[in-house]
């Protein structure tokens, strides 16, 4: 929780510097080849499929607000378990203490729906993201790590910890706000002292518009 307070102080400092700044919006659409793997008492269940989503960011000075939504259908890779619907969304408020570094925090919710039952996961995350151009100004690489400081899931096992990350590159066309993104993302949750492991990973391919 102490880290959460520090992040809030950092955001407050960022908000205090907002006067005279311009809002920079960004929107993107993406497709994610998602794979969900659950290991429980020595058994593994794996689902995969494509999910489609969108995300948007509003930047004002050093502060930014990010929203994302993702939805898709996951089919079982093994066994005879029914297919699931995947719905995921997040709201993150961040601050950039330096140009290449963003600290953000907020809720990240995920739900699996199958046969009228819904399994909900809500993580309260702290994220650190570093981004820097490495091929001229056209290609920017980024890596992001997050850790859940609190979680709520309607599963029997008590929540232990969860963390995840994403790394990839964004190609920006010269003199145009059009961007293309390819990245790999993963998050991993541990419940019940390791009796249940939840891993979600996949490749993200997206296009977007960014007015920076």
């Amino acid at each position: 929780m102490r880290v959460g307070w520090l992040l809030l102080v950092a955001m407050a400092v960022g908000v205090a510097r907002l006067s005279g700044q311009t809002i920079h919006p960004a929107v993107a659409a993406s497709v994610v080849t998602a794979r969900v793997r659950t290991e429980q008492l020595g058994e593994a269940f794996q689902f995969s499929g494509a999910a489609f989503g969108g995300e948007g960011t509003l930047s004002l000075g050093r502060v930014e607000l990010g929203l994302s939504y993702l939805q898709g259908r996951l089919d079982p890779d093994t066994g005879s378990a029914p297919a699931r619907d995947l719905i995921e969304g997040s709201v993150l408020l961040g601050v950039r203490p330096v140009e290449w570094l963003t600290l953000s925090a907020g809720p990240h919710a995920r739900a699996y729906a199958a046969n009228g039952q819904t399994q909900r996961w809500v993580y309260w995350e702290l994220r650190v993201r570093a981004a820097k151009p490495f091929i001229g100004a056209a290609v920017r690489g980024y890596a992001e790590l997050w850790r859940a400081v609190a979680a709520d899931a309607n599963v029997p096992e008590p929540f232990d910890h969860a963390q995840g990350g994403e790394a990839g590159m964004v190609v920006r066309l010269a003199r145009a706000p059009l961007e293309a993104r390819v990245a790999y993302r993963i998050d991993h949750a541990v419940l019940g002292g390791g009796t249940r492991l939840e891993t979600v990973d996949g490749v993200v391919i997206g296009v977007g518009l960014s007015w920076h």
Binding site: T33, R35, R37, E39, K132, F134, I135, G136, V139, G141, A143, L145, Q163, G164, G165, E166, A167, G168, M169, V171, V182, A183, Y184, I186, D187, H188, V190, L197, T199, D201, G202, V203
Partner: protein, 354 residues
């Protein structure tokens, strides 16, 4: 108030007057009274006053026209006094002073004008008409003088060094009424004049070949070479852009790509997942690797930068144009060497007797 102004005027006139102007005024009044006496046929009185007046004018360096007027009246007065020899001497002096002078036939009777003509025809001398200051281009210019003869004669026009040795002959031959002579500012070998003073000497000879008179004119010379412009400096290094790419962007692309690929591949381990298929990660890492390779090729070190090369070429072109303009201007200035000539006062040199 008026008295004060009058006194101030008198004082100003008294302070402004100089001995030479006072002498000239006295000589003028002598000439006037001499001419009046001549017209009253008082030739003795006229001759006395005119001789004194001419003497004072000569001493004061009065203009030739003034002195010539006094001399012609003096010669006429001497003639009518019966002193023909004196009249001849005065007329000869007048011809030597101004070979172009002719008595006014409306003023002087034929007895006077015929005697004067006789003297003029026998007296061989010339006047040199030349601008006081001249600047002549050495490339293709010339100093032009005009010789005006008293009568038909043979002249020898020569430029001399100050010590009297010959520098360059300009003309030898007959002269009727007048003759132009010119000098191109160079010696006989075509080289620019090496000294800063020459003498223009005109020797007049009678038809018998006898030396009749010598007239000499000093010429002060100065070669004027215009300053040349300094060449413009070549473009400094700070004005030019690098024409070859530095290694920084390529290295950054390579290291950044490698780092990003490593981050993608090791991401599951970083979040504690050890049983994750590598396919998606490798695909993304490969895409990053391809982009890295392309970025390295696009930003490879020492590759030519055409935009910078073009920009530098335009800077160099502008410098070359400025240089060519300065060189052309300097060539024009170097070719425009001028000889400045200041002509002094002519002096008659007595010809040695036979």
């Amino acid at each position: 108030m008026r008295r004060h102004l009058a006194w101030l005027g008198v004082l100003g006139c008294a302070l402004g007057a100089t001995p030479s102007t006072a002498a000239a005024q006295a000589a003028d009044s002598l000439l006037v009274s001499g001419i009046r006496a001549y017209r009253n046929l008082e030739f003795d009185q006229a001759a006395l006053q005119l001789r004194r007046g001419v003497g004072q004018l000569t001493a004061a360096g009065a203009p030739v026209a003034h002195r010539a007027q006094g001399l012609v009246y003096l010669g006429a007065a001497e003639l009518f006094r019966g002193r023909r020899d004196s009249a001849l001497a005065v007329f000869r002096r007048l011809v030597l002073l101004d070979p172009r002078f002719r008595p006014d036939r409306l003023v002087f009777p034929p007895e006077v004008t015929s005697v004067f003509e006789g003297v003029r025809l026998r007296t061989k001398t010339v006047a040199i008409v030349i601008p006081r200051d001249t600047a002549i281009p050495l490339q293709d210019g010339a100093l032009r003088a005009w010789l005006v003869a008293s009568s038909f004669q043979t002249v020898n026009v020569t430029l001399l060094y100050e010590n009297g040795t010959s520098f360059r002959p300009l003309y030898f031959g007959p002269i009727g009424d007048s003759l132009p002579v010119q000098w191109d500012g160079r010696d006989a070998a075509g080289q620019p004049v090496p000294v800063d003073r020459l003498l223009l000497r005109v020797a007049s000879r009678a038809p018998t070949g006898e030396l009749a008179s010598l007239l000499q004119l000093p010429l002060d010379l100065k070669i004027s070479r215009p300053d040349t412009l300094p060449w413009p400096d070549a473009p400094a290094g700070s004005e030019l852009r690098p024409e070859r790419a530095a290694g920084g962007p390529a290295t950054r692309a390579l290291l950044g790509g490698l780092l990003l690929s490593a981050a993608v591949v090791s991401l599951p381990a970083a979040v504690g997942s050890h049983d994750t298929p590598s396919g998606p990660r490798v695909a993304v890492a490969s895409a990053v690797g391809v982009a890295t390779a392309l970025g390295y090729l696009l930003h490879r070190p020492s590759r030519p930068l055409p935009a910078n090369i073009r920009a530098n070429e335009s800077v160099r072109q502008a410098w070359r144009a400025r240089l060519a303009a300065v060189q052309a201007e300097n060539a024009r200035r170097l070719a425009d060497v001028r000889l400045r000539v200041h002509a002094g006062d002519p002096a008659a040199i007595e010809a040695a007797g036979p």
